[in-house]
């Protein structure tokens, strides 16, 4: 099916969502559903729970689209923040925070076009490269918090460090990650051209 809204920016599609346009929600799913599912699966380590998290997140997008304020950040950040929050809520509720290996999955997105897929791959490599440049302790704190769903207090206990140390690793690491990511020229979205 051709994507009628493919030419619009993420922000414009969110604005259409706020007006109860289901095609807009479908478009957001086509853009972010794959990343959302990959993230939720990474955090929850369970396919069905990941589906629940993605489903709840997209319904939160549907309900909250009218409250999205473009001045407070990109639509993609808002969407992925909602997905992350749902996944972390679920992982804490289910107490599934294990650090075992993630089962292999087919790296393929049903709804993605070749162009989308290429962009996703480049984006993944770019973020992974930036993460790899962080000092080990900062990367560890960020990864355990973001992908592991651990709170800062749990991290302090787990790593045997004072809370202040954890806070500063997360802050310094995230600020540095931002510099690294912004340091390169990159398109904010593949859909605006």
């Amino acid at each position: 099916m051709p994507r009628a809204l493919a030419h619009l920016s993420d922000e414009a599609v969110v604005a259409l969502c706020a007006r109860s346009d289901e095609v807009a929600l479908a478009e957001l799913y086509d853009r972010f559903g794959g990343v959302a599912y990959g993230l939720a699966r990474r955090i929850l380590r369970d396919d069905l729970l990941a589906e629940d998290a993605v489903q709840e997140a997209f319904l939160a997008i549907w309900r909250g689209a009218a409250r999205f304020v473009p001045e407070r950040g990109k639509a993609s950040t808002w969407i992925l923040t909602l997905v992350h929050r749902r996944a972390v809520d679920l992982v804490r509720r289910e107490q599934r925070r294990a650090v075992e290996a993630l089962p292999e999955s087919v790296p393929d997105l049903t709804t993605a076009t070749a162009e989308d897929e290429l962009w996703l791959r480049l984006e993944r490599e770019r973020v992974q490269a930036a993460l790899a440049k962080l000092p080990d302790q900062q990367r560890e704190a960020i990864e355990l918090a973001y992908y592991g769903g651990f709170t800062q207090s749990e991290l302090a206990e787990r790593l045997g460090e004072p809370l202040g140390t954890i806070k500063s690793r997360m802050f310094t690491g995230l600020a540095r990650l931002r510099e690294l990511l912004e340091g390169e020229a990159w398109a904010t979205t593949p859909f605006t051209t």
Binding site: V35, G38, Q55, L59, R72, R126, V127, A145, L174, A175
Partner: protein, 220 residues
């Protein structure tokens, strides 16, 4: 808040690494702190990018249709019962939205009304239960069990749902009961003609039912 203690929480908040109470406190602080709002936009951007570094995975094909059907069920047909329903069921919000329609008595509810989205068409059916108030809501080959007024399972016990096909029962998830209406996502495919059943089992669940089911559905 005169000291830096709350400002310090920005990175942890951006990573969703605060306890619930800390997060609420930070959000209150945020309303009156321009510096934190700006910092949060920057750090949340970086945190959001981390999503792309997760191993890619293909979401199941039905997920898209389920989300769109649930969204459609919420708006514009905003059933009043849906709202109270949603508040009670923190998880499974979408299935709950769909299930609410079954609970209010729409046994067969076809969402192909708007067929602008041909890929999103999903037929949802409600199948009645005996032994408890509720139904099985079926969408394609998957579904959820919706039960009202089920007493919490006794200590050391759990309810277990089964999908029974040709006399063979496969475990489809355990749950605790309690609450007015609960929605249990069935972790097992639902073939046509199968029956969904519930037994009371020892905590942790059993690989096979150890007693006669006290809740059964009509054939799906």
């Amino acid at each position: 808040m005169g000291d830096d203690a709350v400002h310090d929480l920005t990175a942890a908040y951006a990573l969703d690494a605060l306890e619930l109470e800390e997060a609420r406190g930070y959000e209150e602080h945020l309303a009156g702190c321009e510096r934190c709002r700006e910092e949060l936009v920057a750090l949340q951007g970086a945190a959001g990018a981390l999503a792309y570094a997760a191993p890619p995975a293909r979401p199941p094909g039905e997920l898209r249709g389920r989300i769109l059907a649930a969204a459609r069920a919420e708006r514009p047909n905003d059933l009043r019962s849906l709202r109270t329903y949603r508040r009670r069921t923190a998880g499974f919000a979408a299935v709950a939205a769909v299930a609410a329609c079954a609970v209010v008595g729409l046994a067969a509810w076809n969402v192909s009304l708007h067929n602008r989205l041909d890929r999103a068409q999903v037929a949802l059916r409600g199948v009645p239960l005996t032994g408890a108030k509720g139904s099985v809501v079926v969408s394609g080959g998957s579904g959820a069990l919706v039960v009202s007024d089920l007493a919490p399972a006794p200590a050391g016990k759990t309810y277990e749902a089964w999908v029974v096909e040709d006399g063979r029962a496969s475990p489809a998830g355990t749950f605790a009961g309690g609450g007015r209406t609960i929605v249990i996502r069935l972790r097992r495919a639902l073939p046509a003609g199968a029956v969904v059943a519930v037994t009371l089992e020892r905590a942790g669940g059993a690989p096979q039912p150890t007693q006669k089911p006290f809740i059964t559905s009509a054939p799906l």
